[in-house]
């Protein structure tokens, strides 16, 4: 396996990863004040015993002068699907894009306070190479953005960046990634045609294949289905269910049913604040917070 990306993200910090983070108590509801949520969770299996991969602590985030995130505290578990929900402009996409520092691309943005730790490393620390970070934290965008290259070149793009050019090696990764993205059977006969010739849903799965080809640890999905029809949406959701065994997935969605269907944990954001964070079933069946309840029951947002 390729372990090259490991090195630059301060290897020493990674060495102490799982041991310490799993020792921290499983996630609670940082903002909500109602006690004993997990008891009322209808699943009966809190399923939150997994180790913490991403630890967001007291994060304030600014676009220039305007504050987009207020004191966010969130622990994202490894090999789980975590959904961010909330009305438009609530900061869920902003937080997602903080996790692989895509916000760096926008002039005048800054994390003013707090830390985002992945495997214990503060990713906004000076010594962190953002390139290495993004190799480990992949992203799938709202608008599917396959490059105007062949399907094969799309999938191998990230690998070629890392200097891998062995044909057999690349072929294997292409097949593995496309199978992983449930796209192989549909495109195996036209790997060298343009990725833009695919349908919308296929394009989005191609983007997922492209993201998993570089074997990241985390896949961030920013409303991956919002431009897809219901059938394509179902396929992507099924795919998420398969990917959760190999990757930690964070998904932003406008579609509450989607969050309910495919996530283990759900965080509800409103006006730049994290209102409630709990097991998905708890959020939808038995929310602790009145605002959450109003939102998930469709009374606002």
């Amino acid at each position: 396996m390729v372990t090259a990306p490991m090195t630059a993200l301060t290897t020493s910090a990674f060495a102490m990863d799982i041991g310490t983070s799993s020792a921290t108590p499983p996630t609670a509801r940082p903002v909500s004040t109602v006690p004993t949520p997990s008891v009322t969770a209808p699943t009966g299996t809190p399923a939150s015993a997994g180790p913490i991969l991403i630890d967001i602590e007291h994060v304030d985030f600014f676009y220039g002068p305007s504050q987009a995130l207020h004191d966010i505290n969130l622990k994202i578990e490894e090999k789980k699907v975590t959904a961010f929900i909330g009305p438009s402009g609530c900061g869920k996409s902003t937080l997602l894009r903080c996790l692989n520092r895509m916000n760096d691309l926008i002039d005048g943005t800054r994390v003013a306070k707090g830390q985002i730790k992945i495997r214990g490393v503060d990713i906004y620390e000076r010594s962190v190479d953002v390139i290495e970070l993004r190799k480990r934290v992949g992203m799938v965008f709202q608008k599917s953005n396959p490059f105007p290259k062949s399907i094969y070149e799309n999938v191998t793009y990230g690998l070629r960046l890392q200097g891998r050019s062995n044909k057999a090696d690349l072929d294997a990764v292409v097949e593995k990634s496309l199978r992983g993205a449930a796209l192989w059977d549909e495109v195996k006969d036209r790997l060298h045609t343009s990725g833009l010739g695919l349908s919308g849903g296929q394009q989005q799965r191609l983007c997922i294949a492209r993201a998993i080809a570089v074997e990241p640890e985390v896949i961030l999905m920013d409303e991956p289905c919002s431009a897809l029809d219901p059938i394509a949406t179902v396929k992507v959701e099924e795919l998420i269910q398969e990917l959760r065994t190999r990757f930690t997935i964070v998904i932003v969605t406008h579609n509450m049913q989607q969050a309910a269907r495919c996530s283990d944990k759900t965080a509800f954001f409103y006006m730049g604040k994290l209102i409630e964070y709990a097991d998905t079933r708890a959020i939808f069946m038995n929310p602790a917070n009145a605002q959450t309840e109003a939102y998930v029951s469709g009374r606002f947002g």
Binding site: P5, N100, M102, L105, D107, I131, E132, R134, K135, G138, M139, F141, K143, N145, P146, F147, P148, K149, Y157, G158, L161, Q162, S194, L196, C207, R210, A211, V214
Partner: protein, 348 residues
Amino acid sequence: MSAPTRHVFRSRPSAARRWETGALWVFRSSTYLVLLCGALVFGHIVFKGSHTVFTKQAPFINVPFLTEAPESLYVFEYKGEKKELGDRAFRAFKIEHPEAKDVKAESYVYSAGGIFPCIVGTVLLVVGSMIIALTLGVSAAVYLNEYAVQGRVVTAIRLAILNLAGVPSVVFGLFGLGLFVIYLDWNVSLLAGWFTLAFMVLPVVITASEESLKAVPKGFREGSLALGATKWQTIRKNVLPYALPGILTSSILGIARVAGETAPIMFTAAYVVRDKLPWQGLTSVSDFFFQGVMALPYHIYVVSSKIPQNEYTERVQYGTAFVFLMIVALIATTSIVLRNNLRNRYKW
């Protein structure tokens, strides 16, 4: 026709309808007027120039005109016969016919021979200056559009670039004379001409390159960066290739301008006449860059400013203009074909 229909959708005269018709005709006639002007100019040059460039007999192309250097033309009467001979032919004639030694001949400079050195010079000037302009221009556009923090400084730079586009070409010529020819002591040379012409088209290249970079969707950049690409990897593999067709379009405009400008090269690169071709008589590689050349537009200027004008000078002028148009058309067509190929390769 039957009786006038009176349904609700019948057309009724109204101000909006009259404006619609009027506007259409204003736009249409403007377009046709432009077309007419273009056709007149081109038609005139092609019609008159083709007499010089094409011949009625076998090769049908005036090969000497395209392959020889300019000479003076001597027109004289010999034994009741009117003769037109170029410089070399005239001298040979006088040796052959010693009795014609004192024949009275009218001479017209550059009206015989051909324009081969000018063709070579113009092609060299265009290729060199476009290489410089594209390298500098695309780099600057990439910096302004991809790297620079958008703010007052960048706005000021853009404004400066736009202003540069409004500077008359003769000022660029004087600038080149002052900086390259005199201060840097490059003399009248290809190198000085290249840089002067390149600076002249830089605003066009930068502006157009920036526009075509902007037209590349943001998603391509984000997608690439999210896979762990550096900024330069992203630009090189996933932005520039798609912007290239647009950049080429701008460079086509640039080529037409560079090839046609007279003022910037008259002080910096162009000789009125030079008997050697650029690759003749070189003693070192650097000699190539530090030699002046003849150029088509300057040749037209030189020949046209000879007084008196007559049928002999006119032939050269129109012939040169015709050849010049053909060369620009050829270079432009090549770029357009290249651009269209690229466009088909990267469609989104």
